[in-house]
């Protein structure tokens, strides 16, 4: 199981702040594709992904128990 966190506009689009999924040994890119099929409108805009609180690349492999955050464009300050 992995945990996926949703923030800001993505929370509103999915209706969730987090969920647990069976997904490991595959890439960040594959996870995003799967989630985009599941949630309409999720692909709008640039989404970055963090694995265990650090930014990840599309080709990085997601491991069992990872905490994945979907990060829409940030706007702090």
């Amino acid at each position: 199981m992995i945990t996926v966190l949703y923030f800001a506009g993505l929370k509103e689009k999915t209706g969730l702040d987090k969920e647990q999924l069976i997904f490991s040994g595959k890439t960040v890119k594959q996870l995003l594709e799967e989630l985009q099929r599941k949630y309409e409108g999720l692909s709008d805009g640039i989404i970055q992904v963090a694995i265990n609180e650090e930014y990840a690349l599309p080709e990085d492999i997601i491991e069992e128990k990872d905490i994945i955050a979907l990060i829409p464009p940030v706007s702090g300050g």
Binding site: L5, F7, A8, G9, E12, G45, I46, Q48, A50, I51, N52, E53, E54, Y55, A56, L57, A69, I71, P72, P73, V74, S75, G76, G77
Partner: protein
Amino acid sequence: MKLFEIVETVIDPEPYRKAVLHASAGAVTVFTGHVREWTKGIRTIYLAYEAYIPMAEKKLAQIGKEIEEQWPNTKVAIAHRIGKLEISDIAVVIAVSSPHRKVAYEANEYAIERIKEIVPIWKKEIWENGQEWIGEQKQKPIVEGELK
């Protein structure tokens, strides 16, 4: 208080200024970002900030480390508030000390630019007739140094 933190209550800038002070600090800059009433002709009623708290605090600390490596003898403290903020409330405070003044300005401005690039915090503007999550389109492609 922590040197790099996300808070849910009113920010008082003074503790952050004092936290970066030391005997060879000749200059301290304290930047505070406030909720503005008017943005491009639209009146803001209030703002709502949300953060991925543990990652945001890590990224604030990373910015502090970048500064302390780039400009010797600087010291940095940063706090960002989340939740509902009213007009004139402080959303962010950045304190930078340095032996000399020029660096204190430059490094402080670097910190706010980096916050807007890499720290997972989001702002929702609530106007009289609507609301929107703001994305500043400032995110750059991920580069090697930012990977885990």
